[in-house]
C-alpha cells in the first residue's frame, strides 16, 4: 500500500467517508480506491464528503439516507450538523 489509509467508506453508494484520524486543512485523505484533499479541518471519526453534494441532495452512509445537505458541500469538506440536516435526530 502506497499511503497510509486514514478513511473508511462503508458502502459503495456512500457519498461520505469517515476519517480515522484528525485531518488538517489541505491534508490527504486515503481509503482503498479513494484519494482526496481536505478542504478545511476534519475532526477524527467525523464524516468527509467524497464527492460534491449540492444543497438539498441526500447524504448517504451505510448506503442509507442519513440527511440532506443544507448548503452546497464540496468534495473534501467536513460533513456535520453545520452543513446538513440530519434525518431522525
Amino acid at each position: 500500500m502506497a499511503a497510509k489509509f486514514n478513511a473508511i467508506v462503508i458502502h459503495p453508494d456512500d457519498n461520505v467517508a469517515t476519517v480515522t484520524e484528525a485531518v488538517p486543512d489541505g491534508g490527504s485523505i486515503y481509503a482503498p480506491g479513494l484519494a482526496l484533499t481536505a478542504r478545511g479541518e476534519i475532526p477524527a471519526l467525523h464524516k468527509v464528503a467524497i464527492r460534491r453534494i449540492a444543497q438539498g441532495d441526500p447524504v448517504f452512509k451505510y448506503g442509507q439516507f442519513i440527511g440532506a445537505a443544507s448548503v452546497d458541500i464540496e468534495s473534501g469538506q467536513w460533513v456535520h450538523l453545520h452543513n446538513f440536516q440530519a434525518e431522525g435526530k
Binding site: 489509509f5 462503508i10 482503498p32 477524527a44 451505510y62 442519513i66 440530519a86 431522525g88 435526530k89
Partner: protein
Amino acid sequence: MEFLGYPRADGRWGARNHVAVISSVVCANGVVQAIARAVPEVKPITHTEGCGRGPADLQIAVRTLIGLGKNPNVAGALVVGLGCEFTKADMLAGAIAASGKPVETISIQDEGGSVRAARRGVEIARRLVAHATMIERRPCGWDALAVGLECGGSDALSGITANPMVGVAADWLVAAGGTVLLSETTEMIGAEALLAARAVDPRLGRALTDLIQAQHQRAKEMLGPMADLVISPGNMDGGLSSIREKSLGCIIKGGTSPIQQLVEYGETPSRKGLVIMDTPGSDIFSLTALAAGGAQVMIFTTGRGTPAGFPLAPVIKVATNHELFARMNDDMDLNAGVILDGVSIGDAGRDLVDFVQRVSNGELTKAEINGNDLLAIHTTGPSF
C-alpha cells in the same frame, strides 16, 4: 468448509454438546452448583428468577429457561427445582423434552433437602454426560446454524469497523439459508423507518416501527432528560450527526437481508433468515435471550472490551480497534482494527465467516477458554 453439527432428535444441529443443569428457580442454585462441582463436564444454568415476580416476568423466565434447554447445543438437561416455586421443574422439563432430548428433574423439597438432592442430581448428571459423549458430529448444512448478534462496550469505531464486518458474515449466513438474530431494540431507535422498509410484509414493518417507538418512549419515561444521553453518548462530538446514524452503525451487524420476523425476548423464531429479537441493550440479558431463541453461536463486537461469554454457546468477540485487541487479547478473538489499515470490510468479514465456521465445528472462543459463563434473565418489573 461444511458444518459438522451434533444431530438432535428435533432435526436441529448443535455446535456444542453440553449437558445443562438448570435451576428452575433461584432457590435451587446451590444444588445446581454442587452438582456442577462434582460433575465438571456439565454447564450449570443459575439465575435469579422463577418466583416472586409479576405474570409478565414469570412468562419471560419460563420462555427463556425452556428455550435454553431446547437450544441445539444442549444434548440433555437436568432441571432442579425447589418444589413450591412458580416455574415448576416438571413443567419446564416437559416443554424441553418435546425436543426429544433426554430431560430429568429433581425437587429439593421432595428429595429431602439439598444434600440428598445434589447426590441424586450427580447420578443423573453422570448418566446424561455418558449419553452426550455417544453423540458424534456429522455433516449438515449451514442452514442449520443460527447466529445471535450483540454489541457492548461500544466505541466510535464500532459502527465503522466491527459492526460492518459482522454484517458481511450475517449476509453470508442468510444466503446460506441460516438464521441471524439481531437484538437490542434500544439500539434501533431512529432507524425504525429503514428497518420497516426491509420487512417482508407491511404488518411486520408496522410491528417493528411500533416496537422501536415504544422502546424510545420507555427510555424517555425511565431516564427523563438522560434518555438522549444514554441513547447517544457523546455521539455528536464523536462525529455522528443523529440517532439514526448511530443506530445504522448498530443494525449494520445484521447485514442487508430482508427482515423475516420479529420475536419476543427468548422466543425461538419460526422463520429462517434475518430475524429481529426484542431485547434490552444490556449485554448479558441480550446474550441469554439470543441463546434461548436457539442461537448456537454468538458474535459480540466491542470497542472498550468485555470478557462476556455464555455457558451454552460460544461467543466470538470482535474488537473494533488494534489497541483493545492488544490490551485485552486474552478476551478478544478477532480484530476489526485491520479495516483501519486498509483491509476491506468484505475481506475482514470473510475472515469472520471462516472463524464462525471453525467455531461452529468446535474451535474454542476466548470466552470459552476462560470459562466466562455469564447469564441473566430480563425482567420488566420489581420482585415482590
